[in-house]
């Protein structure tokens, strides 16, 4: 046997999104990783591309009644109701923990009125440890009959514009998949000043307990996530990448590197891992290892060469 001399060069995994240099394109999806500390015993937070927090609102939010979750075929429904400690408690009690790490902190936030969105953004803008904001627009606009902001291009335009004024940090707008034409909502967000887009949030779903004849969720309707939704998410990311020129972060049913690669190949610059964290707290670490192995096997030196490399 000849002794191999070739030095194995580790592929470059870092990506740049809206001016942020991330050490790799893998980060958790909001609401599936708590405030970071919950998974710190299981995963080196310094190995991630970024940390994305649970969605925050101006005031603490108690969330929905139980049951709040149920398993479906290769997926789960949740109607947590955006329970969170509120932006102030977050800044005071959760940020210090996150600041220990050398990983960009992306704070997810939402509101039920434009002003609430703007107010949260403004507070977060003042916090140096917050590297970027991710704006969840899958919330009902209570001032407009409860229509979800993210399904109405005009509402998107208006709320993103207002938030944009309040922060100079990178602003990621997180799109809802429950729309007829995602290219329209994506463009509305881009035009209103988003620096990047992330998608998809959960698909609206429902499940019934046929014995009791009651919905399995107290809230009747919830958000579907997990591997079941991946083909829909890949399609939507593919469509959005073609419609906008800002970077896109792909989300939806990612459990392995192979899944993440689908999103990267259609053009996502990074991915978020959600439900898979529940199934396996090491999921993101495994994905990162597998991504590196894939690049080595395929002779890819820089993951950026892979991004958007779809051949149609």
């Amino acid at each position: 046997m000849i002794k191999r001399r070739k030095k194995i060069i580790r592929p470059r995994l870092s990506v740049n999104i809206a001016g942020m240099e991330l050490r790799n394109p893998v980060m958790p999806a909001s609401g599936t990783f708590g405030y970071g500390e919950e998974y710190a015993p299981y995963l080196d937070l310094n190995s991630l591309g970024a940390i994305v927090t649970k969605g925050l609102s101006l005031h603490p939010k108690a969330g929905n009644r139980t049951p709040r979750i149920c398993e479906t075929v290769s997926g789960m429904l949740n109607a947590i109701g955006l329970q969170n400690v509120g932006v102030d408690v977050f800044i005071k009690h959760k940020m210090p923990f996150l600041e220990q790490f050398d990983t960009p902190v992306i704070v997810n936030f939402f509101g039920n009125t434009q002003d609430e969105y703007a107010a949260v953004a403004e507070r977060l803008d003042a916090i140096s440890g917050v590297r970027a904001l991710e704006m969840n627009i899958s919330c009902p606009n209570v001032k407009h009959g409860g229509i979800v902001f993210g399904t109405d291009p005009k509402a998107i335009s208006s709320v993103v514009r207002q938030v944009r004024k309040k922060t100079s940090k990178p602003l990621i707008v997180k799109l809802t998949p429950n729309v007829t034409d995602i290219q329209v909502t994506a463009k509305a967000a881009e035009d209103a000043g988003a620096d990047a887009l992330s998608l998809i949030n959960t698909l609206t779903g429902m499940s019934v307990d046929v014995k009791t004849r009651r919905p399995r969720l107290a809230n009747t309707i919830g958000g579907l996530s997990g591997p079941a939704i991946r083909p829909i998410a890949v399609r939507l990311v593919h469509q959005v990448v073609q419609a906008v020129s800002i970077p896109v972060i792909g989300i939806g049913g990612i459990t392995r590197a192979m899944d993440a690669l689908e999103f990267l190949i259609v053009g996502a610059k990074a991915v978020q891992v959600g439900t898979a964290n529940f199934v396996d707290p090491h999921a993101m670490a495994t994905i990162l290892n597998e991504l590196e192995d894939f690049c080595l096997a395929e002779g890819i030196d820089d993951i950026n060469d892979l991004i958007g490399s779809l051949e149609v």
């Binding site: 919950e38 108690a62 139980t66 049951p67 709040r68 290769s74 947590i80 439900t275 707290p281 090491h282």
Partner: protein, 285 residues
């Protein structure tokens, strides 16, 4: 708190529909406290998607395969086959690869030494009480009141007796022990002596009845609850129960996986007519 990729050591039916599984689990003898649980998963099996929570029945050591090796650490869980996940578990054998996330949650507090302890277990709710009894039996008198629908639901009572626990068994259909509810026995015991601590785990209606009795007698009570769980570590917020003082206006939700699964009764909201604790979630058996 770790995720172990490990293997099944044994898996046996101990009563119709109830299985006892022994799993290789390094460090659990040191780490696990009575009342804690694990999030269990069969490696590479989909479905089910999510892990399943199970109380730790006991921890232990067994001889290694050869003399030069240290003894093998294990945990045992006892589960009832109720749905897709437990059906798959039923078919597991020695050597099958599984994953354990744990030990998770807060365990029981042991209370005063010498004071009498009453454990109330309903069906599979008995599981977390065994380790508790093991720890307390040296300092306190421990009684177990064990209830179930039929005699098939009365499991591992001999194990408790072997520890020296005085056990009372009742079944709803009278097929084993006394006919009736375990709560009737509790009521009688507390009338005799309320200077005890009560520890309860079982179906929600039983737990609620136990709470009523204990609060009437001003007897301290710890309960172990079940809730639907996705993550088991406090990240998804799926598993919450209502905390004491919860109102529509000032809601207070506690994570069963992190603050619980064992709660002091005083930590929780009881008897509110809408969705008190997890009682209306249809998952409490």
């Amino acid at each position: 708190m770790k995720n172990h990729k490990t293997i099944v050591l044994s898996n046996q039916e101990i009563s119709p529909g109830y299985y006892r599984m022994r799993i290789l689990a390094p460090d659990y003898n040191k780490l696990a406290r009575p009342g804690q649980f694990v999030m269990f998963r069969v490696q590479r099996s989909l479905p089910p998607l999510l892990r399943r929570p199970f109380g730790i029945f006991r921890v232990g050591f067994m001889p290694a395969d050869c003399d030069t090796m240290p003894p093998k650490e294990f945990i045992e869980i006892i589960y009832k086959v109720v749905g897709s996940g437990t059906e798959i578990m039923q078919g597991l054998h020695y050597g099958d690869p599984v994953e354990l996330l744990g030990p998770l949650g807060q365990g029981f507090e042991f209370g005063e030494a010498d004071e009498e302890k009453i454990l109330v277990g309903g069906g599979i709710g008995l599981v977390p009480l065994y380790m508790l009894a093991e720890k307390m039996i040296d300092h306190s008198k421990v009684r177990l009141l064990m209830g179930g629908r039929t005699r098939d639901d009365i499991i591992t009572v001999t194990e408790f007796e072997r520890l020296g626990v005085e056990t009372y068994v009742s079944t709803e259909d009278g097929s084993l022990g006394e006919a009736g509810l375990v709560t009737q026995v509790l009521e009688k015991k507390l009338q005799e002596n309320n200077q005890v601590s009560v520890y309860a785990c079982g179906p929600m209606p039983m737990i609620e009845a136990v709470e009523k009795i204990c609060s009437a007698h001003r007897t301290p009570l710890q309960v172990s609850l079940e809730a639907l769980m996705a993550c088991g570590v406090g990240a998804c917020l799926g598993c919450v129960v209502k905390g004491a003082g919860h109102t529509q206006e000032q809601p207070s939700y506690l994570c069963t996986c992190k603050v619980g699964p064992v709660f002091h009764a005083r930590q929780l909201a009881w008897g509110s007519d809408d969705d008190a604790a997890a009682s209306d979630c249809g998952v409490c058996r």
